[in-house]
């Protein structure tokens, strides 16, 4: 029994120290994004650009694929329900609002967490275990400025962009389904989409996706920089990073949706 309590205590302590570590990393990252460049050294734009290509441009296809088919599925599922009320044309608004407020940001974030978050942890983790991070330190190159900040900025810019594209792809999927299979008039579909889709639907979605970007980048970098124990350690860190990101994205989604819901946004 005592062992059991001790094990729980140990687990809680290590989780708390990880949360603390992530906040310390956040503080250092924000310092190098907003203050560091002006009083110390600027960030390499080439690095940020490279990361943007890897994190954003190369994720385009898979985000498009996932959201497009989700749009089609949403259209079918909602048509099934709305048909009982004889209100099939509202498939349009349902798909649009659901994509913009919820499915677009979350799906894009989950896809990027799996693709980019894992890659960040694996790369930084193998740099850590092969002493490359230490090498940066001994050359007076701050690892946070050099490794974390470019990935952080790139993801903060690219994930909202991917989200917008994902929302659009989902709406196109819903449109194709609605018009060519369910049989809603094309003009009516577009009309209803824009009648019900408000600007706030778009920007609440974007607020979500910026928060998700922060979660993915920070957890990915933290787990990578704290990887220990060779190849196995890097593998473990990558798994933990992706799983933690997934959980935190869903949690943050729930909290943010609650805030938007109760504040009537």
């Amino acid at each position: 029994m005592l062992n059991f309590i001790a094990a729980i205590g140990k687990r809680v302590l290590s989780t708390l120290s990880q949360i603390g570590g992530i906040f310390i990393l956040l503080k250092a990252t924000l310092f190098w994004v907003f203050i560091g460049p002006f009083i110390k050294k600027p960030i390499s734009y080439r690095n940020i650009f490279q990361q943007m290509v890897f994190e954003g441009v190369n994720s385009l296809l898979i985000v498009f694929f996932v959201t497009f088919f989700t749009g089609i599925v949403l259209a079918m599922q909602s048509a099934y329900q709305l048909a009982q009320l004889g209100a099939e044309m509202y498939v349009a608004s349902l798909v649009a609002v659901a994509m913009a407020r919820e499915m677009g940001p979350v799906l894009a974030a989950l896809v990027v967490a799996g693709r980019v978050g894992a890659a960040i942890t694996a790369e930084l983790g193998s740099m850590q275990v092969t002493e490359q991070v230490e090498a940066l330190q001994t050359q007076a190159l701050n690892p946070v400025r050099f490794l974390v900040v470019p990935r952080f900025i790139a993801l903060m810019v690219m994930l909202p962009c991917l989200t917008i594209l994902g929302v659009f792809a989902g709406m196109v999927g819903g449109y194709l389904m609605g018009v060519f299979s369910i049989g809603i008039n094309s003009g009516v579909y577009i009309d209803i989409t824009f009648k019900f889709l408000a600007l706030k639907d778009i920007y609440t979605g974007l607020i979500k996706s910026v928060s998700f970007a922060m979660i993915i980048a920070l957890i990915g970098c933290y787990m990578g920089l704290n990887a220990k124990g060779g190849a196995e350690g890097v593998g473990r860190a990558t798994t933990v990073s992706v799983v933690t990101s997934f959980i935190m994205i869903i949690l943050a989604d729930c909290v943010l949706t609650g805030i938007f819901f109760f504040s009537q946004m």
């Binding site: 050294k41 740099m127 092969t130 490359q132 230490e134 090498a135 050359q139 007076a140």
Partner: protein, 266 residues
């Protein structure tokens, strides 16, 4: 001897991990221009000592002075100034995987100096010439052999023309000829460029080749310190055992039989 300029001074250094004391009161001086070898068996704390000196680990107590600055009391940005006067060669070179040889060497120059890219490219060529790898600028680290990576690592450590270079087991895992080449390189650099070197190794052949002075670490303490000749002729059985590599002697790596049966039948 005593009136030579002291580059590094370690005072009463103590460091422990998870309650296990790794370094227990280390006192050490490194003089300008010499090659000091820190030797000792695996797990004796020599790598930890090196990591404390380069500042990637912070000690529990004690102080380390590099050119008069107590690095244990400096904050990161003050420490970065000290970091620019030394170079570090890592055990497996720790080259940046995502960059080619030229970028590996020039990175620190691009970041810390305002030199023209043309000048930086000339400097990279000079550093590569020093280690005998001119012409390999565009190679990626994964395309190089172990010995070549190690030499690029040395060139990278020399990029900022440091007066002090740390080496972590520079010959470990290399064939005898390449190990000899690395030894000669370390020797050449310290003589030609007047670089002070601190080498951590357990390769006795390498110790005999390069050391001016030797420090032997055992169980977290310095058990011998002196000129190469003194160490060679030392009567201390622990040092004799280490030099000859004999499994029999005061340094026990095999567990004794006491309690073995009890443990098995518990």
């Amino acid at each position: 001897m005593e009136n030579r300029e002291v580059v590094i001074e370690v005072k009463d250094l103590v460091k422990s991990f998870n309650g296990r004391v790794i370094l227990n009161g280390i006192n050490l001086k490194v003089y300008k221009g010499e090659t000091l070898v820190i030797m000792g068996g695996s797990g004796c704390g020599k790598s930890t000592l090196l990591r404390n000196m380069i500042g990637t680990h912070r000690p529990d107590s004690g102080s380390i002075f590099i050119k008069g600055n107590d690095i244990t009391k400096l904050n990161e940005s003050e420490f970065d100034k000290i970091r620019k006067i030394y170079g570090m060669v890592f055990q497996d070179a720790a080259l940046y995987d995502s960059m080619n040889v030229e970028e590996n060497i020039s990175l620190v120059l691009c970041e810390h100096t305002k030199l023209d890219p043309d000048i930086i490219s000339i400097m990279v060529k000079m550093k590569l010439e020093l280690v005998g790898l001119r012409g390999f600028e565009k190679f990626m680290p994964s395309q190089l052999s172990g010995g070549m990576r190690r030499r690029v690592g040395i060139a990278r450590a020399l990029a900022m023309d440091p007066e002090l270079v740390f080496y972590d087991e520079p010959t470990a895992g290399l064939d005898p000829i390449i190990a000899g080449v690395i030894d000669k390189l370390i020797l050449d650099l310290s003589k030609k460029l007047q670089i002070t070197s601190v080498v951590v190794t357990h390769d006795m052949k390498s110790v005999f080749a390069i050391a001016d002075r030797v420090v032997m670490l055992y169980d977290g303490k310095i058990i011998a310190e002196g000129e190469m000749s003194e160490i060679k002729n030392s009567e201390d059985p622990r040092i004799k055992q280490f030099i000859t590599g004999s499994p029999e002697g005061p340094i026990q790596f095999l567990q004794s039989g006491d309690g073995y049966l009890d443990e098995l039948t518990k």
